[in-house]
């Protein structure tokens, strides 16, 4: 006998069917690999997936957490994330502010911002790799002609520079994203608050720091979190520009996972790495869902 559904149950039922296809696709594709990765992380599956595997429980995790190479990779990834996102934020804010003041050519500027952001990652990486080329690259050519260097420098062979060069390539690609978000947010800010402050004697800097910046907080937060999660998992651009080199100086945590899993064949260790990375990013994601989703709108 079919009970008559309340409006709420009726809604929920429809909602269930609406969300079903998405759930099937997402879980169907991702769930099994995630579970199998978790499974492999508990084994010492080195030298390939067909090789004999011994169950070692949390052994891989312990090895990783006590491995200097792992922590070095974490360190580099944090460096990449902080510097990259930090600079993007500052530059993005500056550019957003610039557009907001409506200087001549602001429309063209805003449109142009889209280009670096739309360029595919691999094109971006290849392009910058060529710019950094030791013998024929544009960077060397430019700096030489400007008199800033007197001899071509093999940029990508310098461990201390390589990471920063990758960061530059990443910044070029990602600043527009932040600039556009912040610029849109700026456009919606009410002008009266600042006008009142101006009347009260606050100068431009004070108005900016004490009124505008706080009002931009939600937008900054969103941009920050999205970019941080992305930056922490960076892989493609490293693969294209430096392949982890020179001397491991650009091996981020994702790249280390690639090395372990594919180049060295340590499937077990690679899987454990993946979970550790997921843990880090999950924490970050949890933070942003907390901040962005108002619990009172649910149920």
């Amino acid at each position: 006998m079919v009970r008559k559904l309340t409006l709420r149950q009726h809604d929920a039922l429809i909602g269930f069917f609406l969300i079903l296809p998405s759930l099937i696709i997402i879980l169907g594709i991702s769930l099994q690999p995630i579970l199998s990765t978790l499974y492999f992380s508990l084994f010492e599956a080195s030298r390939g997936i067909n090789a004999p595997q011994t169950f070692i429980g949390l052994g891989n995790y312990v090895t990783l957490l006590t491995d200097a190479v792992f922590w070095a990779a974490i360190g580099r990834t944090l460096y990449f994330t902080l510097v990259s996102v930090g600079l993007e934020l500052v530059l993005g804010l500056a550019i957003a502010q610039l557009i907001h003041t409506r200087p001549p050519g602001w429309r063209f500027l805003r449109t142009s911002l889209i280009i670096p952001w739309a360029v595919p990652t691999i094109v971006n990486g290849t392009m910058w790799r060529w710019i950094y080329n030791a013998d024929y690259g544009a960077l060397n050519g430019l700096l030489l002609q400007l008199g800033l260097i007197n001899k071509y420098i093999p940029w990508l062979t310098k461990p201390e520079l390589a990471m920063n060069l990758v960061i530059l390539a990443d910044i070029w690609h990602s600043v527009p994203f932040i600039a556009l978000i912040l610029q849109a947010a700026l456009a919606t800010l009410p002008a009266d608050l600042e006008e009142a402050a101006a009347v009260d004697g606050a100068n431009a800097l004070q108005r900016f720091l004490l009124i505008r910046l706080p009002l931009l907080r939600p937008a900054i937060l969103v941009a920050l979190v999205i970019r941080t999660v992305e930056a922490f998992r960076v892989f493609d651009i490293i693969y294209v520009i430096t392949n982890g080199g020179p001397a491991f100086s650009t091996v981020t945590i994702s790249y280390l996972t690639y090395l372990e899993t594919f180049s060295f064949g340590h499937i077990g260790r690679g899987s454990a790495l993946s979970f550790l990375i997921s843990l880090f990013t999950l924490v970050m994601a949890f933070v942003y869902i907390r901040i962005l989703y108002r619990p009172e709108e649910k149920l």
Partner: protein, 430 residues
């Protein structure tokens, strides 16, 4: 909502089932399909390779070969991934020399020692079996035999007053000094000592040319012994004396080719691919018609006449392939004397007999470059050395690359750097 918990639970089960669906082995029916994974620019052109496949398919109606081409960088990763599934996504693949030990240990490739006939053993270059042999067992047929050659710019060399290329590295240094003094080029020789596999290749060439070895008979690293340190010190000296192009410490093979093609170096070592481009391709080279090859020098008093790096590849059967025999049949066909002789416009045959009599003339006549490279290959190959067949080679190589780089950039002494790398090798061997 109580009565909705069931549907939700069902969804999760559904999703898991969808994933589990992928766990049923695929069915096989009809003619045995052999999937081959290889590389573009791996000898014959794509058209030629496809033609060989067609020939084979016609001659073997119950086997169907399908061939796919990927870039070198992707080849290793694709093989690793392909072997993760059962049945494997490919039955035959091209394996680089330095992956053989790794793949053998991982159980990716089939032991074909028993399938090698005496005929093959005798008639194929002995040095080429080094490539596909790991621990005394053969795991594939050699393919794309390549080694590093000694190139020199005859015109520039004669300008310096020399009529013959150097036979020893010491002689090269003497010639280079004269070249440099006369202002013919600033840095007479250019190498690929960048922190890549390329550096290892040059290192092997020089180390073995000094009577040294990378590992001893038990597999222990010995490259940090007296000979090794001497060799590395020699390399540093050539940079200090302005004989070696200092940019070499960041170069790979292509960079060497670029420098050499612009006439900025008189000597260089590189794989065979450079010869055609540098001597016959006016679009890419400014020194066409002036380049010759000679036997790779060695160090005087080392007891070694010549030494170079063996950088060939091989075709192997996937160990878990359901059609091993068919797969091997294809490889046999591909590497057979007959097929190789017919398609050697871009490929050096692995059969020694191809380099004799009528076959030799035919080989040499294919392209202008072949007239030089073919006899040169025949002469040089017996002196080619492979890198150690150890399963941990990728990691080991990175450690050695780092050591060479640190020494060449004077961040560590040669002894220090090599010792550290040797220690890492020992650690990896555990």
């Amino acid at each position: 909502m109580k009565n909705l918990k069931t549907p939700f639970a069902l969804t999760i089960v559904l999703a898991l089932l969808a994933g589990a669906l992928g766990c049923q082995p695929a069915q096989q029916a009809g003619p045995a399909t052999i999937r081959v994974l290889t590389m573009e620019q791996a000898g014959p052109t794509v058209e030629e390779m496809n033609a060989i496949v067609e020939e084979f398919n016609k001659a073997n109606p119950n086997i169907k070969v399908e061939i796919e081409y990927v870039s070198y960088d992707a080849l290793h990763d694709k093989i690793t991934t392909a072997m993760a599934s059962t049945p494997p996504a490919y039955d035959v693949f091209l394996v680089d020399d330095i992956w053989y030990a790794e793949f053998a240990k991982a159980g990716y490739i089939l032991d074909v020692t028993d399938r090698i006939t005496k005929d093959m053993r005798d008639k194929i270059f002995t040095a080429s079996w080094d490539i596909t042999t790991v621990g005394g067992k053969v795991y594939g047929m050699p393919w794309l035999l390549d080694e590093k050659y000694f190139y020199y710019n005859e015109e520039l060399l004669s300008q310096a007053g020399f009529s013959a290329p150097p036979k020893t590295w010491e002689e090269l240094v003497d010639q280079a000094k004269v070249i440099k003094e006369k202002g013919i080029v600033e840095y007479p020789i250019v190498w690929s000592w960048g922190q890549y596999e390329a550096a290892i290749c040059d290192w092997v060439t020089l180390l073995y040319g000094n009577g040294g070895r990378l590992v001893d008979d038990s597999g222990k690293p010995v490259f940090n012994d007296e000979t090794g340190v001497k060799t590395l010190t020699w390399m540093l000296q050539t940079i200090d004396e302005g004989i070696t192009n200092p940019a070499s410490v960041s170069y790979v093979e292509e960079d060497v080719r670029n420098v050499f093609s612009q006439g900025k170096a008189v000597f260089a070592t590189n794989w065979v691919y450079m010869y055609d481009l540098v001597n016959f391709n006016a679009e890419q080279s400014q020194v066409t018609g002036k380049i010759k090859m000679s036997l790779m020098p060695a160090f005087a008093n080392s007891g070694v006449q010549s030494a170079t790096i063996n950088g060939s590849m091989g075709f192997s059967v996937a160990a878990t392939s359901p059609n091993k025999d068919a797969a091997w049949k294809y490889i046999e066909f591909l590497t057979s004397e007959d097929v190789q002789n017919r398609y050697s416009a871009h490929l050096l045959p692995i059969w020694q007999t191809s380099y004799q009599g009528e076959s030799l003339n035919k080989l040499m006549g294919y392209t202008p470059a072949n007239a030089t490279t073919v006899p040169m290959f025949n002469e040089q190959f017996p002196f080619a050395h492979v890198r150690p067949k150890v399963a941990y080679y990728p990691e080991a190589s990175k450690a050695l690359q780092l050591a060479l780089q640190l020494a060449l950039t004077k961040q560590k002494t040669p002894q220090q750097a090599l010792d550290e790398a040797a220690a890492k090798w020992v650690e990896l061997a555990k």
